[in-house]
């Protein structure tokens, strides 16, 4: 069913302000977006909303838990402290265990969504939400109100409908133990005898690196050829494990010397004082599949000013550098000065591969289903 036409008829959206703010009617503008007929709802047109931000304001932001609580380091604490200091508001992190599905479920049940936005939206999330939810979970953000948006590199955009604003990125790549194996340089190399039963990657159905690698093979071998490649991979006794953690556990325990992981691996290795020879990174065919993360406003969001202040803050070069340092992911703001360790140890592939929202829409489920049928029971 076409949700947009449905929404177009639903007319205006009334946003109720927080205490002290008056309720603001926001006409559903036909002007704000180029969309496929009909306007997008949401607060994208409200940059001109009057009303001051109260001192005791609270901004709730949804994200995934490792962004605010990870055993090594995470940017959550720094962002909260710095943002609160500068904007005189309280920042609340919301990290439900089901991540975005939690909000999808609230949306399904017709319940309001507390956070103004979600940080860490990926292209595949947008596709899932689009395919399975009635109505819009996310709203478009008008980037003209974000002063730092103009410095976001064009190549980082993945949502033509403008809901997700690029925030940070990393690249999927091969991490291998240089002490025990030679570097695999191409996809074909992975099929060679010397890597037989030496490679582990995670389940594309349920984990990010696995999915990125699968999409990468689809880009490389086309829709018609990727299953053959996977068939050959499975013949070479590649292990498809549950999650990236399981894969990395086997790498750490020296059970497998080649794993699909991220190209930033050596940043961590140097930080922990590990043998860098064990942590070598290969960009297959000099490529890396981009792991893009964005922030997107929830359609229920009501405090545009505060949300935009936060988004702009996240895009500031200083914050971007802080995220690069603590999240070990690359910045999207091209003015960002990279942290030393990141600049030295993170590997930038010569060519970035990425399927955007449009390419994934309508294809992702089929690709995964076909992959599943190819791999299950194959031995």
């Amino acid at each position: 069913m076409r949700r947009r036409t449905f929404l177009a008829s639903s007319g205006a959206l009334v946003t109720t302000g927080l205490a002290g703010c008056s309720a603001v009617d926001i006409e559903d503008g036909e002007n704000g977006n180029s969309g496929d007929g009909g306007g997008n709802d949401g607060g994208d047109t409200s940059g001109d909303t009057e009303g001051s931000v109260e001192d005791d304001d609270v901004l709730a932001v949804g994200t995934y838990s490792t962004f605010v609580d990870a055993p090594s380091d995470s940017p959550g604490v720094w962002i909260k402290e710095t943002f609160e200091e500068r904007h005189d508001v309280e920042l609340e992190w919301h990290t439900p265990d089901q991540e975005l599905n939690y909000y999808a479920e609230r949306h399904n049940q017709g319940l309001e969504i507390d956070p103004e936005l979600f940080l860490g939206v990926r292209p595949q999330n947008l596709v899932r939400v689009e395919e399975n939810l009635e109505g819009d979970l996310f709203a478009e953000t008008d980037e003209s109100v974000l002063s730092n948006a103009e410095n976001i590199g064009d190549e980082y955009y993945f949502d033509p409908e403008g809901r997700a604003v690029p925030t940070f990125r990393s690249h999927c790549g091969i991490v291998y133990d240089g002490r025990n194996v030679t570097e695999p340089e191409t996809f074909e190399d992975l099929l060679e005898d010397r890597y037989e039963s030496q490679i582990a990657l995670s389940n594309p159905q349920d984990s990010t690196t696995g999915l990125l690698f699968l999409l990468w093979t689809i880009d490389r071998f086309d829709e018609d050829g990727y299953l053959d490649y996977w068939s050959d991979l499975m013949d070479n006794d590649v292990r498809v494990l549950n999650s990236w953690s399981d894969v990395y556990t086997q790498f750490e325990e020296e059970e497998v010397p080649v794993v699909v992981s991220y190209t930033n691996d050596r940043v961590y290795a140097s930080r922990f004082g590990n043998d860098l020879e064990k942590h070598r990174v290969s960009t297959l065919n000099d490529q890396g599949y981009a792991n893009m993360a964005g922030m997107a406003r929830f359609a229920d969001g009501s405090d545009d000013d505060l949300a935009h202040e936060f988004m702009d803050f996240i895009l500031e070069p200083e914050t971007q550098a802080e995220i690069a340092n603590r999240n070990v992911t690359g910045p999207v703001n091209e003015e960002t000065e990279l942290p030393e360790a990141y600049a030295e140890y993170a590997i930038e592939p010569e060519e970035t591969v990425l399927f955007g929202y449009d390419e994934l829409k309508g294809n992702l489920t089929d690709w995964l289903d076909e992959w599943e049928r190819e791999v299950v029971g194959s031995n």
Binding site: S65, V68, D69, A70, P71, S72, G76, V77, K80, W93, T95, D97, Q98, N101, Y102, A104, E105, R106, Q109, L111, R128, V129, E131, N132, L133, S197, N203, Q205, D206, M234, R239, V240, L241, N242, S243, S245, D246, Y248, T249, Q250, E252, E253, E254, E255, Y268, F272, G273, N274, D275, T365, E372, R373, V375, V376, G377, S378, N379
Partner: protein, 651 residues
């Protein structure tokens, strides 16, 4: 509930229909009088036997009121238990399951049909549902390139896992129930540990033990025996399943073995039976139900297995739960729910089969004098003394690799650093305690929460389980079906329960204009109790069923209420079962993860398994250090309870 209340009334009259009375030869009845007399004495009444109604009439008014209250107690507990189950389990799960038949506003069975016809799930069987000839399907299934589908494979590996669990569990039960040795009780207490181990810890331990550079290969290499390539393989999955489930089989069998009345064997022996014959005819029939129960539970758990299969085996060996998980994760609720129902029906079918067996194989027991234990060091060097001990020694070697080595490798991982042994990961835990922000997990808080929640879950699940056991051991049509349905918390897919909990208690249930939501510590305890109580039911019910009815009837005839008879007569007789259930309840709660994270309203309610998950990263150290904390806290709890409780507790 109406039905159970009426049965309570009919039972109050002491009328029993013994349609299911087993034909098995029970133990000799010669000693029946003694415990009965004791119990009657303990009941506080010296009155000789009389007709039940006359007895009730003769009692004083206060006694009648008290009796009425006590009689209602079972019903009241029953209602409370039902309420908890409905709010935290049946209603939430139903909201998800409904999506399989109610798709885009219409009722349909098409989703099920699609699944049944899908060769991915059902292999060659799928053709049966597409109208293929059964003969042709059977022929294909017998051929070399048969395909049994994901469901078939799941059942296959669950069956093998069950067999292995029983094979590795029984010798342990034999050792713990029949031999006396230093550290026996500590060892028995520690057999609970696998229940609290998060699968990520087991995966780390198993890779270190059975991997290509693992302990097993190191030992084999040192002995000049070459090496084995176990990872990834079905074998290592089966071993991991046995790691979890063999202790389960061992614990329930040990409890049953300790309940075997020594006098029955003595009688058999005095009548000329050989030791083997006495074992076969007297002891073994009392163990079968426990072994089968352990087996049935092991099947259910390994049928619904998820993370460990993909962590050690890989996607080629994916089970049904893997697909349920990803379908729900992808928001494809209709297919996910339908597949989860297929999974549930198979699991409950197996449990139902076991319950039918249990009902027809009740062994009446009348005494609680356990068999004396033999010393582990052989008293003489005869073949008969040496042979079983030699067998146990061989078993010990296997057990060291399957159960001990994985735990030890976890310990090792927690002190392994970039430059040799280190305590930095434990220092990390201390630092986190000091510096963590409000939204980050703190190790000590997790320890405290785990202990409080486990104690709460124990206190709640014990009466829940006992009441359900009482209600399902009554005689009424279809009671085994009810019993099996009440075991559903063991068998329903975890992610379905998770989404259901969100929709139900967390988001709130609308009642008369109010949206009532249940979350936070109390909800966590109650949800833990829901996961734990089936263990209490399963360890208590067979005992209840086996208690000689005439004992209860005597107690009731002498004026005891149903509850009083339960507390004073039945529970003491089946105490090992109650304690076994309590131990499971405590441990299940300590290891619980999924409903805790969903119901917690803040990180200050997180438990140790959640902390372990949060501390997982590139290095194994932080998570394994937290894992060791979990193991130590659990071990200390169990050993302390065992010491405080004396021999009769026997956890």
């Amino acid at each position: 509930m109406v039905e159970t209340e009426t049965t309570a009334e009919t039972e109050g009259c002491g009328e029993m229909t013994n349609t299911n009375e087993p034909s098995d030869p029970g133990p000799p009845a010669a000693d029946a009088v003694d415990p009965a007399a004791d119990v009657a004495g303990g009941g506080g009444s010296d009155r000789p036997t009389a007709d039940p109604p006359a007895d009730a009439d003769a009692d004083g008014f206060t006694r009648r009121v008290q009796n009425r209250l006590e009689r209602r107690a079972i019903a009241v507990f029953g209602v409370a238990t039902t309420l908890v189950l409905v709010v935290l389990f049946y209603y939430p799960v139903a909201t998800v399951f409904l999506e399989s038949v109610y798709v885009r506003g219409t009722l349909t069975l098409s989703v099920f049909l699609e699944i049944l016809r899908d060769p991915l799930y059902f292999g060659d069987f799928a053709r049966l549902f597409r109208g293929g000839s059964p003969l042709a399907v059977a022929r294909d299934l017998l051929s070399a390139d048969r395909s049994i589908g994901v469901v078939g494979f799941t059942a296959y590996q669950a069956a093998l896992s069950t067999l292995l669990s029983v094979a590795l569990g029984l010798p342990a039960a034999y050792l713990l129930a029949r031999y006396e040795f230093r550290g026996r009780r500590t060892l028995r207490a520690l057999t609970i540990l696998p229940f609290v181990m998060p699968s990520i810890m087991v995966a780390i331990g198993f890779v270190a033990t059975f991997g290509q550079n693992g302990t097993v290969n190191a030992v084999l290499g040192a002995l000049g025996l070459g090496s084995v390539d176990l990872l990834p393989s079905l074998t290592v999955i089966l071993l991991a399943h046995a790691f979890y489930n063999a202790p389960l089989v061992a614990r329930v069998t040990t409890a049953a073995w300790e309940s075997v009345d020594a006098s029955a064997i003595e009688t058999a022996r005095s009548l000329g039976a050989s030791p083997f014959r006495a074992f076969r005819d007297v002891v073994a029939p009392q163990l079968y139900p426990a072994v089968l129960m352990g087996g049935a539970l092991a099947f259910v758990f390994t049928f619904g297995t998820f993370p460990i299969v993909l962590a050690l085996g890989g996607f080629q060996l994916a089970t049904v739960e893997v697909f349920v998980y990803r379908l729900i994760q992808d928001l494809n609720y209709a297919e996910g729910a339908a597949l989860a129902i297929v999974e549930l029906v198979i699991s409950l079918g197996i449990l139902y089969g076991y319950l039918r067996y249990e009902a027809t194989h009740v062994v009446r027991s009348r005494g609680i004098r356990p068999l004396p234990r033999r010393p582990l060091s052989p008293p003489s060097l005869s073949v008969r003394e040496l042979l079983p001990r030699l067998g146990l020694a061989l078993y010990g070697v296997v057990a060291v690799f399957v159960f001990v080595a994985p735990v030890l490798s976890m310990l090792y991982a927690s002190v392994d650093g970039a430059n040799g042994l280190t305590l930095e990961h434990y220092r990390f835990l201390l630092e986190r305690q000091e510096t963590a922000a409000a939204f980050q997990v703190r190790p000590w808080d997790a320890v405290r929460n785990s202990l409080i929640f486990a104690a709460g879950a124990l206190v709640l699940s014990l009466p829940m389980g006992v009441v359900i056991a009482v209600l399902t051991t009554r005689r009424y049509r279809g009671r085994k079906l009810v019993d099996a349905t009440l075991m559903a918390p063991l068998a329903v897919s975890g992610i379905v329960v998770g989404i259901g909990l969100l929709r139900g208690p967390v988001f709130g249930i609308e009642i008369g204009g109010w949206r009532i939501s249940v979350a936070g510590a109390v909800a966590i305890v109650a949800a833990h109790a829901v996961s734990c109580y089936p263990f209490v039911v399963r360890t208590v019910a067979p005992g209840l069923e086996s208690v000689d009815r005439t004992l209860i009837e005597s107690a009731r005839a002498l004026g005891a209420s149903r509850v009083r008879a339960l507390v004073d007569v039945e529970l003491p007789l089946i105490w090992p079962g109650v304690v076994a259930g309590a131990a499971f309840a405590f441990a299940i709660s300590m290891g619980e993860f999924s409903s805790t994270v969903i119901l917690a309203t803040g990180t200050d309610q997180f438990t140790m398994p959640v902390a372990i998950e949060r501390f997982r990263g590139r290095r194994l150290g932080p998570a394994t250090a937290m894992g060791v904390v979990l193991l130590v806290v659990t071990s200390v709890s169990f050993v302390v309870i065992d010491r405080l409780g004396g021999e009769s507790v026997g956890i």
